[in-house]
Amino acid sequence: MTDAPQGTTALPIQIRDLTKRYGSVHALNSVDLDVHSGEFLTLLGPSGSGKTTLLMAIAGFSRPDSGSIRFGEDEVILTPPHKREVGMVFQSYALFPHMNVADNIGFPLKLRGISGAERAARVEEALETVQLSGFGARNIDQLSGGQRQRVALARAFVFGPRILLMDEPLSALDKKLRERMQIELKHLHRKLGVTTVYVTHDQREALTMSDRVAVINDGELIQLDTPEVIYNSPANAFVADFIGESTMLPLTRDDAGALLFRGQVVGDAGTDQGRDWTLVMRPERLFFADAGAETDDQTIVLTGVLREAVFQGESEMALVAIDDDTEVAVRFGTSGRASASGSNAGDQVSIGLDRNDVIIIPDGQAV
């Protein structure tokens, strides 16, 4: 256990019926979740959704009221944190300010009785992995935010943990550095191959980094899937709204089960009779169609009045009123060819949506 080599000890996590209450509030409500061996899984949700509680339960800092957590074959629900062999990175980095960089990273090795040359060698190897070679003797207050992040990371994996947990580790960094660290973390994960559970409230970060994303809200697991599926086929209105931008419009259903939007067939409810359905339109999947274009097998066309076009740098956002109280957001690139220019506020415009880009979600529970 003590000298397990890096990257060979990835373990799956199996969570069953995990429940945690604070008073009458369910922080976690009967959560089932399987994290595959070696995968990068992100817990994504708004603040107060229970994602951090779930992470803390995996780490052993929060004792659930009931349920099961297994690392591989081992039930760990009663195992204290220091025996779980889990590396953890906190939002605040939580580096030990009274130790230098090498002592911080060497701390878990020291606790495992690894001393002298071997400890120094493994610390140096970890420093190299996070591209901080030669920083061992530095004090913590001599490091930049990004460097601190890397030290916290090195400290979390240097002892070859079976599982790596990260609680919003990049949220304190500025946007540019954060985006670079996202890629670096992804590379590091690939290199170490360790099962990683990552918590964030930043949907873009979740989509960028994860093998799979678990969307959590009100203590419940709402949807668990790859970033593509989560984005392209949200399970419900919450996921559609929380991830990406969207305009949501109600659909009607005819007697044959076809779903209609303003008389145009956009989908099929099948035999499911008892629900309301909603059309989700992603602004970047919409485009301006030629005047006079009509709905066909390929494209759904809506007409409306251009209310406003806002230049946002890499893209432009247009708000189109398709009736008095319904606005649809359309996002398009600013490459010159694909612009709304030519249209002014108040002009009549046509917007198109490829039928492949139609997202239809059921509202609420089936009756």
């Binding site: 052993g60 906190f90 580096l95 030990f96 878990p108 606790l111 495992r112 400290r155 947990l165």
Partner: protein, 273 residues
């Protein structure tokens, strides 16, 4: 620009405008310190009586103090009780402050107030109560009794100092240490304690001083062979006035000031870290 018309702060107010404030502050500080300092020249007097200013000078009262078995014994008692009080109050204070800091229990506020009551209740009440309580269990005039009573007085100070030291401490460091393989106890001693060490040392020094300077409880519950220096001084002032007291006072002022300066120094060092 001379000192007079230079701005005193990030404002347009100059040192000249502020002169009245400087003078007032100096007067207040003088009034606070003067009664203490007046004993210093008196201790170097050659007179039989307390005299200010002294007409002739000598070191005889220092010799008197250092040569007296009675005074030396009382001094040893005071150091012993002070040291033991420090050993009792500091760990208890650290444990209480840590528990209150970590706990999310709703009663922490009430427990904190309960623990600092010895600071709020008039010492004379504690002294009388302790005296009668000790009378029942035969702890009057014992070192242990005095140490316990002084620890009750020192505990609130230790708790407040350590709580202040913990206030800026990030507890997730301890969680990290535990996830890295440290037991909770190890995490506290290896990670938390080194970072609040200046507060702990300050708490220890102030605990010592609380006991060393204390007179009211000592008058009630210490006596005989275990009477403290302060108790002897009080008795000496009542029975016969003699400049030995001034000499002892001077030594105590120097010792206390040195310890206080040390805590200030440690405090600023702790803040820098």
């Amino acid at each position: 620009m001379n000192w007079w018309s230079r701005p005193a702060a990030d404002t347009q107010i100059t040192h000249g405008n502020r002169l009245w404030l400087y003078v007032l502050s100096a007067i207040i500080m003088l009034l606070l310190v003067a009664p203490t300092l007046i004993v210093v020249p008196m201790s170097f007097s050659d007179s039989q009586y307390l005299e200010f200013p002294p007409s002739t000078w000598s070191l005889r009262w220092y010799e008197e103090y250092l040569g007296s078995a009675k005074w030396m014994r009382a001094t040893a008692t005071s150091f012993q009780v002070g040291f033991l009080t420090m050993l009792v109050a500091t760990p208890l204070g650290v444990m209480a402050a840590y528990a209150l800091f970590v706990s999310r229990h709703r009663a922490t506020r009430a427990i904190f107030l309960l623990l600092i009551t010895p600071m709020i209740v008039p010492v004379i009440l504690i002294a009388i109560g302790t005296f009668y309580a000790y009378g029942r269990v035969g702890m009057n005039n014992t070192i242990a009794g005095l140490v316990l009573a002084h620890s009750a007085l020192a505990l609130p100070i230790a708790i407040i100092v350590v709580t202040a030291g913990l206030s800026s401490y990030d507890l997730s460091q301890e969680q990290v240490a535990r996830s890295l393989g440290a037991t909770r106890t190890k995490a506290f001693f290896l990670i938390t304690l080194p970072q609040i060490r200046f507060s702990v040392i300050t708490a220890a020094l102030l605990s010592f001083l609380t006991s060393f300077d204390e007179v009211i409880i000592a008058i009630f519950v210490s006596g005989g062979a275990n009477a403290t220096l302060t108790k002897h001084m009080f008795a000496a002032l009542r029975d016969y006035i003699d400049p030995t007291i001034a000499a002892i006072s001077t030594i105590m002022v120097i010792l206390s000031s040195a310890l206080l300066l040390l805590t200030q120094f440690l405090g600023s060092k702790g803040k820098r870290n």
